[in-house]
């Protein structure tokens, strides 16, 4: 299943990952590898375990067995906030932003400084912070909404804001769970543009259903089915895999 030989080590290596909920194995002996600056899309039918894989990597769910190595660090033993500090960023399926804060404050909280209790108490909003927030806000098309309460944003804008909150963290591995779900056509186009811009200097792990969108961005596609890898490779290869056609694209 491994593809080719790699001159440099993987950014993310998942090996033998298994998690079971009361006997039900949502992810079963899963192994895959993500390189630096690679864009990997995970697809698969509902219940294939896609979101669970992201949960496992970012520490939201604890693995029953298996290894997740990121830049040589074993993630399964770290706490969520330590995983974030190691350089993994995660966007959730439904936009999860802070409704009671302004767009500016939403972004500011994600700025990687003052993350301890006392750091937060003594945090000051200096020029570095302000510049960075403005820069990201511009990128996510929310430059003129900075003082607006985040609750008032549209669904698409909330998705962008969350992406922006990840960008300001500047992670090495960005994990996106259905970033264009529920968006209008024009928003979707804008999002694709945004994603294409931000995936430049980092690796990205995306879960997406929209095949057109997947084809646009994916370097490589992994197809999950019942917690296991069904097929892996370029979009072209996966598309023509008879197993995939049967369980997924077939209907």
């Amino acid at each position: 299943m491994l593809i080719g030989h790699q001159p440099k080590p993987f950014l993310l290596a998942v090996e033998g990952l298994t998690v079971s909920f009361d006997g039900f194995k949502a992810v079963n002996d899963l192994s895959f590898y993500v390189e630096e600056n690679e864009i990997r899309v995970i697809i698969g039918p509902n219940g294939a375990g896609k979101t669970t894989v992201l949960d496992l990597i970012c520490g939201k769910t604890r693995a029953t067995s298996g290894k997740i190595e990121f830049r040589g660090k074993e993630l399964t033993k770290l706490k969520e906030n330590q995983i974030v500090k190691a350089g993994v960023g995660r966007k959730f399926q439904t936009p999860s932003i802070y409704d009671d804060l302004t767009v500016f404050e939403n972004l500011e909280i994600s700025f990687p400084r003052g993350r301890t209790v006392f750091g937060a108490l003594t945090f000051t909003r200096d020029a570095t912070v302000r510049d960075r927030v403005h820069e990201v806000a511009e990128m996510i098309f929310l430059k003129d909404r900075l003082d607006m309460s985040a609750a008032l944003l549209s669904h698409g804008q909330k998705q962008w804001l969350e992406i922006g909150m990840l960008l300001i963290q500047d992670p090495d591995l960005l994990m996106l769970d259905e970033p264009v779900a529920g968006m209008s056509v024009s928003e979707r186009a804008k999002t694709a543009e945004l994603l294409n811009r931000i995936i430049k200097d980092r690796s990205v792990l995306v879960i997406e259903h929209d095949m057109k969108f997947v084809e646009d961005i994916a370097h490589k596609v992994t197809v999950l089915h019942q917690g296991q890898i069904l097929s892996e490779g370029t979009m072209e290869k996966v598309k023509n895999d008879p197993k995939v056609i049967e369980v997924y694209l077939g209907h």
Partner: protein
């Protein structure tokens, strides 16, 4: 401390002490069942649970007075009617409360806590205005008094046996209703996915109302049973509320079996400790143990590991 007692004495003490624990266990189960339904299934923190119980107790008291005045010949059987009336009265009040108050708060569990606390204060004052500040004594029919002599030194209180039998009966009934009946399936469906349940044609508002009413009704029966062993006053309900919540939480909120297991372990611990130290310290140690265990195992004794 056992030196002074003979082996035979000790044997009967352990039997009787175990039995005392079983009575306490029944009391806890009765109290907690209604709450396990309301809190475990609906997520509502019903701080007025004790007051629903006391309503049942007052209904029992009124029924006993009525029988004494008008139907003295049937007095020996009044208790069964009283329990039914207690169920209906507390259930009806529960339904009203759900309609006026609770249904607006399903998304704000902490606010149900405050609102039902307010409700409990108002009910207490209402009881005080209607029934007076003094405790009322419920007279029991003759056959419920006294004890069965098992051996020379082992005696079993009849009302204790009655409470235990009642507990078993109600537990079975609740288990049947929640796990076997069509209505129980609807309740669980609503709990798991309100929107979906609504979409497949379950009247979620109605299910909520009847679930809450059922929980309150069971509290009423519990109150009725308590008149046999405890006191009935406007503020008696408050004494039970912390214990009851701990039983439910300790068991794992959504699990009926957990509630029973936790009631059993808490009651046996407390009743055993009471034999070795003063009642207040036994209570402190029991509560401390429960809180300590909850800190180590917050999900309680029985909890499902679910895919979030």
């Amino acid at each position: 401390m056992f030196g002074e007692y003979s082996i035979g004495d000790l044997g009967s003490i352990f039997v009787m002490q175990g039995f005392a624990g079983l009575i306490l266990f029944s009391v806890y189960v009765l109290m907690a069942l209604g709450l396990a339904i309301i809190f475990g299934q609906m997520g509502v923190i019903n701080m007025a649970h004790g007051e629903f119980m006391i309503l049942g107790a007052y209904v029992t008291w009124m029924t006993s007075n009525l029988f004494q005045s008008y139907l003295p010949s049937l007095f020996s059987g009044y208790f069964f009617l009283a329990m039914m009336l207690a169920f209906l009265a507390s259930g009806a009040l529960g339904m009203l409360v759900e309609w006026v108050l609770i249904r607006h708060l399903y998304k704000r569990p902490l606010d149900t806590l405050l609102a039902t606390w307010g409700l409990s204060l108002m009910l207490q004052q209402a009881y005080r205005s209607v029934f007076g500040a003094r405790e009322v004594g419920v007279e029991l029919p003759q056959w419920m008094l006294g004890s069965l002599k098992v051996t020379d030194s082992i005696e079993v209180p009849i009302n204790g046996v009655f409470v235990m039998a009642l507990t078993v009966l109600i537990t079975c009934a609740v288990a049947y209703v929640m796990y076997k009946s069509r209505w129980g399936r609807q309740v669980r469906a609503v709990v798991q996915n309100r929107i979906m349940a609504g979409a497949v044609g379950i009247n979620t508002a109605k299910v909520d109302r009847y679930t809450y009413a059922l929980g309150c009704g069971i509290a009423g029966v519990a109150g009725s049973a308590f008149t046999m062993i405890g006191s009935t006053g406007p503020t008696s309900g408050q004494l039970y509320i912390v214990d009851t919540f701990l039983v439910v939480v300790f068991g794992g909120a959504a699990s009926l079996l957990g509630t029973i297991a936790s009631a059993f372990s808490i009651s046996q611990t407390q009743s055993t400790l009471e034999f070795f130290m003063s009642g207040s310290m036994a209570k402190v140690l029991t509560l401390l143990a429960v809180v300590g265990i909850l800190m180590l195992r917050p999900q309680g004794l029985f909890a499902l590991k679910v895919r979030k």
